[in-house]
Symmetry: C2
Subunit: 654 residues, 2 copies
């Protein structure tokens, strides 16, 4: 049997399985899957070096299925090859019987790819479109760093390629010269609702790829030899460091004419329609049914992997780091911005842990990731992602899948660009660290387009969910001073999961020291009183501290808690509230839904009666020249806090 015939026979076999499994599931996208039949067959049965026994083998080539809805085709191939699924004691080779469980509640065969429900073939969850190529790029960066000869294939839908993140990923791949990544555009001509735009036609995509510096190879995506030759060309190019992309012209519902055109996206045929599709497929492969096994379809194993023992050392203390990096004068000044302490911690971590990567979006001199970037021993683990945040977060997901510990920093306002990507990171079980600087209202003069305002509420939503490992979907961390920022950055690195560290621009006074222990999920009592519990975090802790002076003069003995982590220890907080007459005042420099709501949730849950007042940003801010101006404008100046607290306790005119 020739290579062509073998591929065709195998693709047909997988296509039949796709139709069958989607019909059984009653949902899925069989026509998208059929458009991938030949491409995926050549990849999985010929070009990719991998071992079905161990789909995550460290040196194996990787496939990122960016167009996640086409996943039935991959399930069919993995079932045919007996690829291992399940985790722990449930690990076992897959069989074609498994395909009937597609999309069931206890099945590893998710509707869209996910490694977290028992399908280790994939590195990350996909299905929200446009993210796969960035993930592939992250895997490639990690492989290069580890000296592994891995190639990363990424299948991208043509409709999907409209997502701007694809353009961001192409630019990143070009900047980083990641010739080991092959973007393969599956141009079947149809999105969900309609034909794709002329802008996503094979010709237009090829022009755009060439403009971005790729050799764009346009092929018939159902021609086995053309596919193989294109992949061979990529392999040759990748060895000489040139960038390649494949533009494959395919047919949605290939082989099953009655399913072609625009009407069958996400609709599995059943009954007579299914039978008709099977017969149409069969008609394309007359004479191929005798033997599907062929020497032509040989899977080549990856190189033997020699594990490297990495030494992770204990990072030095903040005081030592300040001294070590010639910042003693600053240290003695007793003031430092939390963003700078983050930069310092990142640099120290970079030396202590060779897995730590830093990614930034053209603001490294604002986030202070530059202290990592500019260190010659670390600069090869710094990735300048430029002004393209979506790509940055998904690259980090790829890095994480390869065992790295990526820290992504930008203004917290611009973190917003990547919230879909971050959610997919959480769904992927990624070990992602997000650091948003210039949070809250203290970027004052720049105005609201540069301020992170709903960020605490948004990240908090994920803290309410248990991730696959049982931990919170996310931790929100708000350091109030440089000691806290330093310690929490180190704590993030030790923790396996998604964290959001919220830093601010202004220099603030030290309130802690190296003896203070900061743990995810904890809080710190700064002042202990008995009349009122003030709960704050980050920059506003300082404003609250000033307010305490005013309250003291008014004879109010308040407790001040630095709630630097969400989630936090609810019991401890409620005990403190009870010790303070049940009077709680929360103070934040962000929109509602953050700490105030977290405390309200906890209090409501307790069923006890408390009096809570929430101070937060209740108007859209505008520019103001100083921090004092903006605090006054938003009613969050320390005198506002004093007044509100006094009013709560029945004192007027303080």
């Amino acid at each position: 049997m020739s290579f062509e015939a073998a591929v065709h026979a195998k693709a047909l076999q997988l296509d039949h399985l796709c139709l069958e499994m989607c019909a059984t599931a009653g949902s899925g996208h069989p026509t998208s899957a059929l458009s991938l039949g030949h491409l995926a067959t050549v990849l999985l049965y010929h070009t990719m070096r991998w071992v079905p026994d161990d789909p995550r083998y460290p040196t194996s080539d990787r496939l990122v299925l960016s167009e996640g809805h086409a996943v039935p085709l991959i399930y069919a191939a993995c079932a045919d090859l007996g690829a291992v699924i399940g985790t722990g004691e449930r690990r076992r080779p897959m069989t074609t019987n498994d395909l009937a469980t597609l999309r069931e509640a206890d099945s590893a065969l998710e509707g869209h790819p996910s490694p977290m429900e028992g399908f280790p073939f994939f590195d990350a969850a996909t299905g929200s479109l446009g993210q796969g190529l960035s993930i592939a790029a992250g895997l490639a960066v990690a492989a290069r760093r580890d000296g592994l000869d891995r190639r990363i294939y990424c299948l991208i839908g043509d409709g999907e390629s409209r997502e701007g993140q694809i353009a961001e990923a192409l630019d990143f791949i070009a900047d980083q010269k990641l010739s080991s990544v092959l973007p393969i555009f599956n141009c079947n001509g149809y999105g969900q609702a309609d034909a794709v735009s002329e802008q996503q036609s094979p010709a237009s995509l090829a022009r755009k790829l060439e403009a971005a510096g790729f050799e764009a190879i346009t092929i018939d995506g159902h021609d086995p030899a053309a596919i193989r030759d294109a992949f061979d060309r990529f392999i040759a190019n990748s060895q000489s460091g040139e960038l390649t992309a494949v533009v494959a012209e395919t047919v949605k519902g290939w082989g099953a004419e009655s399913l072609q055109g625009g009407g069958w996206h996400g609709k599995p045929p059943t009954g007579e329609k299914l039978q008709e599709a099977h017969e149409e497929l069969n008609a394309t492969g007359v004479g191929l049914t005798s033997s599907l096994v062929s020497d032509e379809l040989k899977i080549y194993p990856p190189n033997e992997h020699t594990p490297v023992e990495l030494t992770i050392s204990e990072p030095m203390s903040f005081a030592d780091a300040m001294s070590h990096y010639d910042l003693e004068t600053v240290f003695k000044s007793g003031r430092l911005a939390t963003r700078k302490a983050y930069g310092l911690a990142l640099r120290v971590l970079g030396h202590a842990n060779p897995n730590v990567f830093a990614l930034d979006g053209d603001v490294k001199n604002s986030t202070f990731a530059e202290w990592f970037a500019n260190d010659p021993e670390l600069s090869d683990r710094f990735l300048e992602c430029k002004i393209a945040e979506q790509n940055m977060f998904s690259v980090a997901v790829g890095l994480s899948a390869a065992g790295k510990v990526p820290f992504c920093s930008t203004f917290s306002k611009f973190v917003t660009r990547g919230f879909d990507q971050i959610e997919m990171a959480i769904n992927s079980g990624a070990n992602l660290k997000i650091v948003g600087s210039h949070s809250g209202i203290t970027p004052a003069a720049d105005g609201p387009s540069q301020m992170g305002l709903p960020d605490v509420a948004w990240f908090r939503s994920w803290t309410t969910v248990r991730g696959h490992g049982g931990n919170p979907g996310c931790y929100v961390l708000q350091p109030a001073d440089a000691f806290a920022a330093y310690a929490l950055t180190l704590a993030m690195a030790e923790y396996d999961g998604v964290c959001y560290l919220r830093t601010v621009r202004p220099d603030v006074e030290f309130i802690y020291n190296d003896a203070t222990v900061f743990n995810l999920g904890n809080l710190e009592v700064l002042t202990k009183g008995r009349d009122l519990l003030i709960i704050s975090a980050g920059y506003m802790v300082h404003e609250c501290n000033k307010a305490l002076d005013g309250l003291d003069k008014a004879g109010i003995d308040a407790t001040l808690v630095d709630l630097y982590s969400i989630p936090f220890d609810v019991e401890v907080l409620l005990d403190l509230a009870n010790e303070n007459g049940g009077n709680i005042l929360t103070v934040e420099d962000n929109y509602g839904g953050g700490i105030g709501s977290a405390v309200a949730d906890a209090v409501a849950d307790s069923g006890d009666a408390f009096t809570i007042e929430q101070m937060c940003v209740r108007r859209i801010p505008k520019s103001a020249r100083t921090e004092e101006d903006i605090l006054r404008l938003c009613g969050l100046h320390h005198t506002d806090i004093t007044r509100k607290a006094a009013n709560m306790l029945g004192l007027v005119g303080v």
Copy 2:
């Protein structure tokens, strides 16, 4: 004086003003502004047809400053020209004295462009990068619809052009053949932290623009004649329907050599450095100081605008609409998905209000925006934005600025892609309607990559803030049935501001009728009891309704509230809670921070003692074949609700 000399003299004048105002403000981006001096001078003093007396005159050409940080240059020109600033009684011509107020708390001169603080020259807030070109496209669509000969100029930074949204906008402009938009890439070679990537070099940008179907004209961005000629070429092209873009090679800190290179982003020189910069600038313009006025710099007025009286009629009732569009059989079935009722309402609205536009992201057959799109009388107001949500939301901002009422729909999961754009829309005072379908966990089989899960918490954060008009920054609307979805869609259209309507996939039973009145900010009591207040919304209202049966059998007399709006009437809700023994159970099909927290906030604020339990999605969902399966998996099945409610009241084993 020649045109060249006149432009040069004027640019110099503006450049000096920029340096001065940033020095006074103590912040700002003078070097970015200086790179725009000649481009903006030719635009504002020659090419653009506009009237400084009335910067928003309906037929005037528009300038969208996507690279918002360069705004001092525009302020300088507007001050020089006496452009009107302020609103209402504070409207007055600007003077150069105003420049000294840059970034002050009571100044209209925001750090980044905003029309909402008294600077009507701009149509929308910019400053979070990469969004301006989409806004420009929206303005152009509106102008075409209104038959106005407006041209839309958009200044884009080279670093900024890395944002994938720029690629999305170019594709959209090409799809829509918006030849009246001119993207002008200001290639000064530097981002914030560093030089821009080779991928954003003038040559690379020009290649990419050509690949996207634009004639890319590369010019020296400080050569007045070259600028004028490029703009003239654009005008000619736009008349013949061809797409044009300008790639302008510029110098960051042009004219002030001591400020050039990478070190001066966002840093205003003061003192001696300022003096040096002024002197350097002066040296470039020897002999030009005599007269800055020249016939060469004549601003051409826009065409006279003849207001058109639009007839907005009363939309028909839901029952009438179902009948009118031959859906009587469905109506009699008593079941319809809220997404379909939205589609119907959108279609009815399209006929009733000629300002209504519908935008969708290649899922119109899922969101049911297709009922608008496929109506031949409405299809020219339907914009298929393809799989590029960021662009969709910003296009809507442009439409809104031109007086349109844009409805943007996609899966609520994919709305996430545009949260930064939506925040900028809120900051812009835009009249944006967002409709997220397939919300919550009921997309079951597709898995979490297709589910809107933190959406309620995220949008709720904006509801806690007052916008510029005093209304909430956003309304979150969750219709429980088709009547509610229909009525709330109509209510959204009547309201001026941002709303998020959350629809779900499954067909659900009717629980309302056309007599029910739905108002933003209200709630509906479905069942009145005395033991327990159950609060829910959307799909979960039906699950709660079923739970009531179980509770009834257990002798529990519960109240059920459909909290279809956030914000809501807190007083009414607390009264209901008190009538139900202070026992509250919230039930949601989303992650925490939504209704449960909104109620907890309200309760906490009241200071009374209530017992609240929150049921929401507390794990990352996975695929499950049926709605029943996924509800059980997430502990939100009606039997779970019954059990929880009974436990709250001390009954075990129900």
